[in-house]
């Protein structure tokens, strides 16, 4: 079984996201530890990109803040490798393709392996374009997380069949960001996926409260929370660690209950 799939065994998973370098890489390291200690089962670290087309305002702004500090991929790998020594929660990268293409795919995935990054989520790489990096993810044993959207319809079968680790089910149309209501019939999509594969499903996009997380986790194996955490970081900056921890523990309690 894939290492990431294992974390979904016998529990509802909480996956959390934050952007590397917002407000600084030292703080990202501290926040990742806080996330892990307060109950995150998997942590998604976003690699900042100048023009993130799948992100809403909250994450766009976080990426702009990070880039204003001139951080690069080597710095992010260094941070990740330091933080790996402090926590055992699996880490994955969320990234757009261009920074990787520039850095070199082989070098990037080799360093992922050395650093202990388990997987990548690439919002601008649909299934049809996976050949772009597949050779390298295979070579270094890094999982590509498959995204399924409310509009995927008849694509679900082909997407789910090749998925590994977990399936990232996009809860709503549009980009990332906090939403007051999620109207997609998540249950129906999850059961469609479950007929095809045993790979666990986590729901993301728009989830910001414990109640939403609990609702989503009813049918799915877990939830992904991003913008809500990034908003806390934007508000509390260097001092966000305790606020993040408080928020994550409360969500964790809700989805367990």
């Amino acid at each position: 079984m894939n290492k990431i799939s294992e974390i979904f065994k016998n529990k509802k998973c909480l996956i959390t996201y934050l952007t590397a370098g917002d407000p600084s890489l030292d703080k990202t390291e501290e926040f990742v530890v806080a996330l892990a200690k307060s109950g995150a089962d998997l942590i998604e670290i976003g690699i900042p990109f100048s023009d993130p087309v799948a992100e809403g305002e909250v994450i766009q702004n976080a990426m702009a803040r990070a880039l204003s500090k001139n951080i690069n991929l080597d710095d992010i790998f260094n941070m990740a490798s330091t933080v790996k020594k402090k926590i055992s929660v699996p880490l994955v990268f969320m990234t757009y393709l261009n920074p990787l293409l520039t850095y070199g795919y082989d070098k990037f995935f080799k360093k992922c392996k050395e650093t202990g990054i388990e997987a990548v989520i690439v919002p601008d790489m649909p299934f049809e374009e996976q050949r772009e990096i597949k050779e390298f993810t295979d070579k270094y044993g890094i999982t590509i997380i498959t995204l399924i959207a409310p509009t995927s319809d008849e694509r679900i079968e082909k997407l789910a069949r090749q998925a590994e680790g977990f399936i990232y089910l996009v809860s709503s149309l549009g980009v990332t960001g906090v939403r007051s209501e999620i109207s997609t019939d998540i249950g129906a999509i999850v059961s469609k996926i479950k007929k095809i594969t045993d790979v666990p499903v986590a729901v993301g996009f728009g989830i910001s409260t414990g109640k939403q997380a609990k609702d989503m986790a009813k049918s799915a194996g877990g939830v992904i929370i991003g913008s809500a955490i990034v908003k806390i970081i934007a508000e509390h900056k260097e001092n966000a660690a305790p606020k993040i921890a408080e928020f994550v523990s409360s969500v964790k309690r809700e989805i367990k209950s």
Binding site: F49, S50, D51, V53, A54, G56, E57, Q60, A64, L67, N72, L73, Y96, L97, N98, P99, L100, L101, T102, Y103, P123, D124, M125, P126, F127, E128, E129, R131, E132, L147, I148, A149, P150, T151, S152, D153, R155, L159, V170, L173, G174, V175
Partner: protein
């Protein structure tokens, strides 16, 4: 499997949420492009509404003054709405209507594509929303009002550099928010497949007309064909019909801004590297870490950090030569054409005119250059005045 490749360029690097929308568009386009009724309807719109075919004008004064090759101007500036953009929007908006969409959305830089899209939507009875960088809405306030007059809603884009690339990103985001009843009418031969192909096909009327019109006047093919390139739609439309005619030299003029050795440039071929952005693999101006670079050109229509994937391929195989032209050179050509022929070209098109002025004197008198004037320059007059230090109120 990856679709819409031009050599190593192109593809569909887009969020999963949009994949079915692109598949639906591809399917619809495949059907309608060979549908007789659709083509009759489109041709009628081209001819009766947009004023096609556009003239191929022999620029006698310019030719005599330069003393070399004969120069012909393909007058896309005479189309309804004043540029080649109308060719593309009539096709895509008609397609949207056939697909049962009730709303179109589009990005715009200077406002040419936005105005054209708002026009087509008004004509064909669809809702229209335009995304335009906040900076550009201020620089081109008149076009914002023009779009509103045509019934479109204009959203100033406040993210990133607040210019064309951010307008494209925001229109893509809007499409993921509301995809069911909406078609994104992309303005150039860029973005994910099938857009580069659809826009090229719709613009290819330019090159087809040039071939026919020049044959009527000169009974031969041109020796050199020149067009300006931002995303590259007027150039792709101009070149496409001549790609197999190896004796016809094809030249694309990209915006060098203040020079390709300065950071204030938008020349993707001369200064860019292969990258992946806005749904395509192509050449992009970017930083050493793979962040998309802020770009600059005096021309808002060429102020984009990338170029269409088919152009990148034509560059790779050396079929088209891409040449950077600076702001100052373009302004020089803008004034030259105004005075010599009484034609005020769009500052975008002036980039192409500059190169013609440069090479014509070195060519033989029986050789022929065709330059596509992609648009008219009324929109640029106030900006040129500012560039020359003249203070006028628009």
């Amino acid at each position: 499997m990856s679709k819409g490749k031009y050599g190593i360029h192109g593809g569909q690097y887009i969020p999963e949420t949009l994949m079915n929308a692109l598949n639906e568009l591809e399917k619809a386009y495949c059907y309608y492009k060979s549908d007789k009724d659709f083509n009759v309807e489109l041709e009628t719109l081209f001819n009766e509404y947009a004023g096609r075919p556009s003239r191929l004008y022999f620029a006698k004064n310019m030719t005599e003054k330069l003393g070399g090759a004969k120069i012909y101007l393909k007058r896309e500036d005479l189309n309804h709405t004043g540029s080649h953009k109308i060719n593309n929007v009539l096709g895509q908006t008609l397609l949207a209507k056939k697909m049962g969409k009730k709303r179109i959305i589009a990005e715009t830089g200077a406002g040419q594509h936005g105005v054209a899209a708002a026009t087509a939507a008004a004509l064909l009875g669809l809702e229209c929303e335009i995304f335009m960088g906040e900076e550009d809405t201020q620089r081109q306030a008149l076009n914002v009002f023009r779009m509103k007059l045509l019934g479109a809603k204009v959203h100033p884009v406040k993210s990133g550099t607040k210019t064309l690339k951010d307008a494209v990103s925001e229109t893509m985001r809007e499409w993921t928010r509301r995809v069911e009843d909406t078609l994104y009418v992309l303005g150039s031969v860029m973005g994910p497949h099938p857009f580069p192909e659809i826009v090229r096909d719709l613009q290819s009327v330019i090159g087809k007309e040039i071939r026919r019109q020049l044959f009527e006047k000169e009974q031969k093919l041109p020796d050199v064909v020149i067009a300006c390139v931002g995303g590259g739609s007027n150039a792709m439309g101009t070149f496409y019909d001549f790609i197999d005619d190896k004796n016809v030299a094809l030249i694309g003029c990209e915006a060098a801004g203040k020079g390709i050795d300065t950071p204030e440039t938008a020349a993707s071929i001369a200064t860019g590297r292969i990258g992946i952005f806005h749904g395509m693999k192509s050449y992009f101006c970017q930083t050493k870490n793979g962040q998309i670079a802020p770009v600059y050109s005096i021309s808002a229509g060429l102020d984009y950090p990338g170029i269409g994937p088919e152009h990148s391929h034509l560059h790779d195989i050396k079929r088209v030569q891409y040449i950077p032209v600076t702001d100052d050179e373009a302004v020089e050509a803008f004034e030259f054409l105004s005075r010599t022929e009484g034609i005020i070209p769009a500052i975008e098109s002036a980039h192409a005119v500059y190169h013609a002025v440069k090479i014509a004197p070195k060519m033989k008198k029986d050789e022929i250059i065709v330059v596509t004037l992609s648009g008219r320059g009324d929109k640029d007059v106030a900006m040129i005045a500012r560039h020359k230090g003249v203070d006028i109120n628009e």
